[in-house]
């Protein structure tokens, strides 16, 4: 019988290929469930999940909430802006207080890298990392790979380019780990100031010419420029960024093949991608969102199986 090799989902780097396969197989079943007239199963009736969001989120938070509700778990929500964190409470104290209310699983988004790992060493609950700083965002990477698998049949051997602000992106790092684990070739493309210095040491190709990168790939995963994490200027102007790294329909049509367009959201239309590209037939952006719920249901379900009664 199959189960995950890990006790928490802290990052893709802790997973094995078998774990990813198991998550995808389970997500296949949940995808069928969420397309039924009644989209809910009673599996997690006796599980309570706390969604702790110390950083803003719309998509991920809604997706997690929906996944938890579809599994019939009880949920509590917490966002740092309305909490005692503002009054000086530490992370462990906040979480321990929440845990005394008998919570089984914690979904954590935090601005500090490694917050999930830190918490998992001190807290007796399953932790799911919903994004820690610029480090990892494992559920996003899993749903991205799952969407590629759904569109192209498999991830193995596919060429995927991640375009944009790689330096500040947790989505990029998790995606690189997940894609490499499944045997895909990964390239990053963006302004050289926004590409981490040692990224080629983990087997990732670097390309600063957008056209060449698109010509090479089967799938382009386009990231947003994370202005909120930038404390200095990495490129002269947004206009110049758009001219060099923005993807428009003309550029897409000039390629000799039909590549798949992905974006983890939120989209800045007209900056990294134009509307006609985001809404084109080649784009699977909205499938990514739908698959996000199925993937998160699978992860929560598989981790909940490991909770001791």
């Amino acid at each position: 019988m199959k189960q995950l090799s890990v006790e928490h989902l802290l990052g893709i780097k802790y997973l094995t290929k078998q774990d990813i396969d198991l998550i995808f197989e389970t997500a296949d079943h949940f995808k069928e469930v969420i397309n039924r007239p009644i989209k809910k199963v009673p599996s997690l009736r006796d599980i309570t999940i706390a969604n702790l969001f110390f950083e803003n989120s719309t998509r991920t938070k809604l997706s997690f909430e929906l996944a938890e509700k579809r599994l019939s778990a009880d949920i509590i929500n917490f966002s740092a802006s309305q909490s005692s964190v503002k009054k000086g409470e530490t992370l462990i104290d906040t979480v321990n207080n929440i845990l005394s209310m008998k919570v089984d699983i914690i979904v954590l988004r935090h601005p500090n890298e490694g917050a999930g790992v830190f918490l998992s060493n001190h807290i007796n609950a399953k932790i799911i990392n919903a994004g820690d700083g610029t480090h990892e965002h494992p559920t996003q990477a899993l749903l991205d790979s799952y969407s590629i698998r759904e569109k192209l049949g498999s991830v193995k051997g596919k060429k995927v380019v991640i375009i944009g602000d790689i330096l500040h992106s947790r989505v990029a790092l998790s995606n690189i780990f997940a894609l490499q684990l499944q045997g895909a070739k990964v390239m990053v493309c963006g302004p050289s100031t926004l590409i981490p210095k040692y990224i080629s040491s983990i087997g990732v190709q670097v390309e600063t010419n957008l056209k060449k990168a698109l010509q090479w790939c089967d799938v382009a995963n386009i990231l947003r420029v994370q202005n909120e994490r930038m404390h200095t200027n990495y490129f002269p102007s947004t206009r110049e960024y758009t001219q060099l790294f923005g993807i428009d329909k003309k550029l897409l049509d000039s390629l000799d093949k039909k590549i798949v367009i992905m974006h983890p959201g939120p989209i800045n239309r007209g900056v990294e991608i134009t509307s006609d590209v985001a809404d084109s037939e080649q784009s699977i952006i909205l499938h990514q969102v739908e698959n996000g719920v199925a993937i998160r249901m699978a992860i929560i379900y598989l981790l909940a199986q490991k909770i001791n009664r």
Binding site: H29, E32, V33, P37, P42, Q305, I307
Partner: protein, 182 residues
């Protein structure tokens, strides 16, 4: 561990023919009926019945599908081994239809309880019946009984009923396995 043959391939074939006739008696042309094989092992029996009804009894249209009950089980996190899900393939409407659940062995009745919950996600059937190949009498945990049964057996709880299908084993057969270490 010892294994005793309960039914051989020929006996199973005769039983499936009888079950098909019994279904036919109650459902005639099957136009308002949906046959649902319960994953994983009830699906083999369901496929056999459908093939037989089409071939020997000239029923043209039979609506059927498979239902996985893993997410509806009442022993989630209560077992040593993790539960593994199978796929559900029920692309038919069951609203106001006569549903027949098909499974290989009826033991505690808990799987059927889960199936009764699971089927509600697809609509409100007019009625639900249960067809099983083997009915293990005296081992029920819940008040659930089959409408159609292939063979009733009295086995004690240490014993296990094994149904082999030629689709995934070498031949059709039903065995009773006894744990002789006890």
């Amino acid at each position: 561990m010892s294994k005793k043959l309960l039914l051989n391939a020929k006996e199973i074939d005769i039983i499936i023919h009888r079950l098909a006739c019994q279904l036919l008696e109650n459902h005639l042309d099957f136009n308002n009926t949906v046959l649902v094989g319960l994953q994983p092992r009830g699906v083999f029996l369901a496929n056999r019945l459908v093939a037989l009804l089409k071939k020997d009894y000239a029923i043209k249209d039979i609506t059927y599908g498979s239902l996985d009950i893993t997410f509806y089980r009442d022993d989630f996190r209560r077992r040593e081994e993790p539960l593994e899900a199978s796929s559900t393939n029920l692309n038919v409407t069951i609203e106001n239809k006569k549903v027949v659940f098909i499974d290989d062995v009826l033991f505690s009745g808990r799987s059927i309880r889960a199936a009764l919950t699971a089927i509600q996600s697809f609509g409100r059937p007019q009625s639900i019946e249960l067809l099983v190949l083997i009915d293990r009498r005296f081992s029920r945990d819940l008040p659930i009984q089959p409408n159609y049964k292939g063979r009733q057996v009295d086995v004690i709880n240490d014993e296990k009923v094994l149904v082999h299908w030629k689709e995934n084993n070498t031949k059709d057969a039903v065995y009773i396995q006894t744990n002789s270490s006890k």
